[in-house]
Amino acid sequence: MLKTRTLLLAVAAALAASTTFAAAQDKARVAFVPQIVGIPYFDAMQQGGEQAAKKLGVEFVYQGPVDTNPVDQLQIVQNLINQGVEAISVSVLDASSLAPVVEAAKAKDIKLFTSDSDAPDSGRALYVAQASDQGLGYTIIDEMVKRAGEDAKIGIVSGEATASNLNAWIGYMQERVKEKYPNVTLLDPQFAGGSAERAAQIAGDMMASNPDLKGIIAVASTTCPGVAQAIETAGKIGAVVGTGYCSPNTARAYLKSGAFGYSVLWDPSELGYLTVWAGKQLIDGKTIPAETTPEGMSHPVTYDDKTGILLLGDPAVFTADNVDDFNF
């Protein structure tokens, strides 16, 4: 059949086109699996990873799901294991999602570790942390209280309700408020999934139902634009302090318009760099010292042998004044 043949040709062409992606395999490979592809945050991690790969003489593989779906992520990890990629790092969507593949990785002597979002009890080799969950949760609350006052009412807009790293940060925010700021009211977190319009809708509703709201925290980087726009659209610039864990490039326009008072983040490309570096150490079987400055990085990182956490450093706070000094 003519048409059948056309169809076959189309698929063949698609496969042929993909050969360009097929990789040479003489160098050791370090893979990173993000929670979702196509967002600036993980893009920056990819770039950092590529830099590190070039510098350290390994090959970097970047593969992630299109939706924040743990099964899709698992499928990707499983396929990387099948390919025999020597070290695989995952920003886990769900703390228990690695369980089925941990054994498979061990059996093939593949170093499976986490980066950016952890699965503590999974048996992973180590966890490359951007900053401690506690530090992130505490910092964003401390900075918020500085701006909104010690008796402020603060709302939280998160992304996927299933994301374990985001939930951990929210947990520390709540803990900080309970312990240090008894007069601050922290509203229950609301979840917008991955979409900016839902985040804006929820943030708008939140401001309407709480006219005395002083601040909104956008927990997922995907919710930052929505929250900022909601504050701008509601004409609440100055009255409500917006913030979130988002990169200077994402937050720049909002920091300048005043919708965001500040933004808390680390340099994701540095995190990507450190991830690949850690993968290389694991492949080479080297032990990581308690404090060291990895080749190609400008500052030292710390490693806790007991918890297996490799810490990038303290989170940075970006404001309208310093945001132009950064480009990521």
Binding site: A22, D67, N79, N82, Q83, A99
Partner: protein, 315 residues
């Protein structure tokens, strides 16, 4: 109907061989038993759900089940909630089957008793089931699936994942036999193809259709059980996107969207083709977004080929 099924399978098989051959050339290391295991492992949930979806669609009356993904998520959550609440864990499989069937029968009632259009009814239950699963857990997974399930969920037999060998294959064989050799199976085709005549000759259309929705729920319940045994925890969004992928698999497998035509072998072939394609692209490290685009284009192309053939025949 026979001419259609007979052409669907060669097309799917041809495509499959093409993908495997392409992979063998571009990435020889992928030709390993572990790849087979992976493909089947990730086919299991989709195959089970697609089997139920296929039954519902075959039964006609604009039959469709958009709630399958939500059902998988909700059943997994219900089962683990009951388990942690102290229900004996050996009952967990039963809970999954019963809960799945009940949720499916709710669709059956909405469609056959309340006479809601299936698309509307199951769009409604899609929202309700998937939403409830997320809302009652606040989004977090419930860990601690009974340990006795894990060896089955993660085990393999000569490289074949146990859930695939013990559930998917027997169920598909059983369902094919059921459709081919029992009155019930012939009814499904009959009223799927021409409902009015089927009613006139006294086939209990509503009851059979009611059962078909229950069956779809049962399959979703089984998928939930497999997910528990495999992952070791219940995830409130485990069934995410399954409604659309199962629909894709069923259509690709040669089942007509309006019912009455198509076979289950094609559906299983389509599931394997889809997962092989995904695996192949992953092995070649092609960006995952291409999977979404290629699968979409494939669906359109295969139906286009089919249409042109039909027009030629009728012309």
């Amino acid at each position: 109907m026979s001419s259609r099924t007979s052409l669907t399978l060669p097309i799917l098989a041809g495509l499959w061989i093409l993908i495997v051959a392409g992979l063998a050339i571009l990435q020889p290391s992928a030709m390993a038993l572990s790849t087979v295991t992976t493909v089947l492992q990730f086919s299991t949930l989709l195959a089970l759900v697609s089997l139920g979806q296929a039954m519902v669609i075959l039964g006609g009356g604009a039959g469709i089940d958009l709630s399958v993904g939500g059902t998988v998520s909700l059943v997994a959550i219900i089962a683990m909630l009951l388990d942690t609440a102290g229900v004996p864990s050996f009952l967990l499989p039963v809970v999954c089957l019963v809960a799945g069937t009940l949720l499916g029968l709710v669709n059956g009632i909405l469609v056959t008793r309340l006479r809601l259009l299936p698309l509307i009814a199951t769009l409604g239950t899609f929202y309700v089931y998937s939403g409830t699963a997320l809302a009652i857990t606040g989004g977090s997974a419930i860990g601690g699936a009974p340990a006795y399930l894990l060896p089955w969920g993660r085990g393999t037999l000569a490289g074949f994942p146990l859930p695939f060998v013990t559930l998917v294959l027997p169920l598909f064989v059983l369902a094919v036999l059921l459709l081919r050799y029992t009155a019930w199976g012939r009814w499904i085709y009959a009223f799927g193809f021409n409902e009015r005549s089927a009613r006139l000759v006294g086939i209990p259309v509503d009851r059979a259709r009611f059962i078909a929705y229950g069956f779809s729920g049962l399959m979703a319940g089984l998928a939930a059980l497999v997910s528990l045994a495999w992952l070791g925890s219940a995830r409130p969004n485990i069934g995410q996107n399954l409604e659309l992928t199962s629909l894709t698999a069923v259509m690709l497998g040669g089942v007509a969207i309006f019912g009455g035509r198509g076979g289950l072998v094609g559906v299983l072939a389509a599931v394997l083709l889809l997962v092989t394609l995904q695996t192949g692209l992953l092995q070649l490290n092609v960006n995952t977004i291409w999977q979404v685009g290629i699968i979409g284009a494939l669906l359109i192309l295969v139906l286009l080929v089919d249409n042109i053939r039909m027009i030629r025949r009728t012309a």
